[in-house]
Symmetry: C2
Subunit: 114 residues, 2 copies
DNA sequence: CACTTACGTAAGGACCTTCTTACATGCCCG
DNA sequence: CGGGCATGTAAGAAGGTCCTTACGTAAGTG
């Protein structure tokens, strides 16, 4: 993702099944990088890099505990994303009845009136 | 995005400010590709490609009308994304009190990354 | 103090995005 | 039917992503 704004980082982080799965796993509580990596077929550095993406998007926090890094969810991380999605869904739904009818009878070849 | 599953496509499509802006603009009703492209500093083909991404993710629909393509929102497109986000947010929040206490008394002597 | 463990980071390869310009297609209008 | 308009698509450059292996570092262990 070339875009570096907060929302793009969050959505970009979510646009990967492995990272979504990591977030799901973190629901059950904090977990170290090694334990996490054991669940996947890719190398540990790969998981480490996914964690960096998630951390950069503000979705997780890594706390240092001796030589372990405990990863846990940063609950506010999804706030903006949820707000964006809900706002759009709500507004779309609001318009649907109206728009549906509008398009139905809009049938003719051209448009430009509205 | 190498991932081709539905959720990844949707989140990936949303991970771009231009595409999110296009979706916002479509809230006010259907619009043609040319009208849309006039709002951006990039070329019309670039917009056309963004639209292809949005369409591939099931977020919009393009209907052919003579030589115009009217783009409009596909309201069900955000369903899965919203469900995913809400489910995770809800479950995280559910655990927060518990987890908060747990971490509190777990008292890591030092922390801080990020 | 070596030695292992847990982890991050560097370097590099394969592939994907995201723009651009150039060109092809389909549609209407005189 | 020829010309112009709205649009998609091809081709290619520039830069990202996502994985790998190799190596570096900090913390506990014998």
């Amino acid at each position: 993702m070339p875009a570096t704004d907060e929302l793009s980082l969050v959505f970009g982080a979510l646009a990967d099944p492995t990272r979504r799965d990591i977030l799901s796993r973190l629901r059950t509580g904090p977990i170290t990088v090694g334990e996490l990596a054991a669940n996947y077929s890719m190398s540990r550095p790969a998981i480490s890099q996914h964690l960096a993406v998630l951390e950069g998007a503000g979705l997780i926090v890594r706390t240092v505990n001796a030589q372990w890094r405990e990863c846990r969810i940063r609950e506010a991380g999804l706030d903006d994303a949820q707000a964006w999605v809900e706002r759009h869904r709500a507004e779309w739904n609001e318009r649907l009845d109206f728009l549906g009818e509008h398009l139905m009878k809009h049938q003719p070849r051209r448009e430009g009136t509205r």
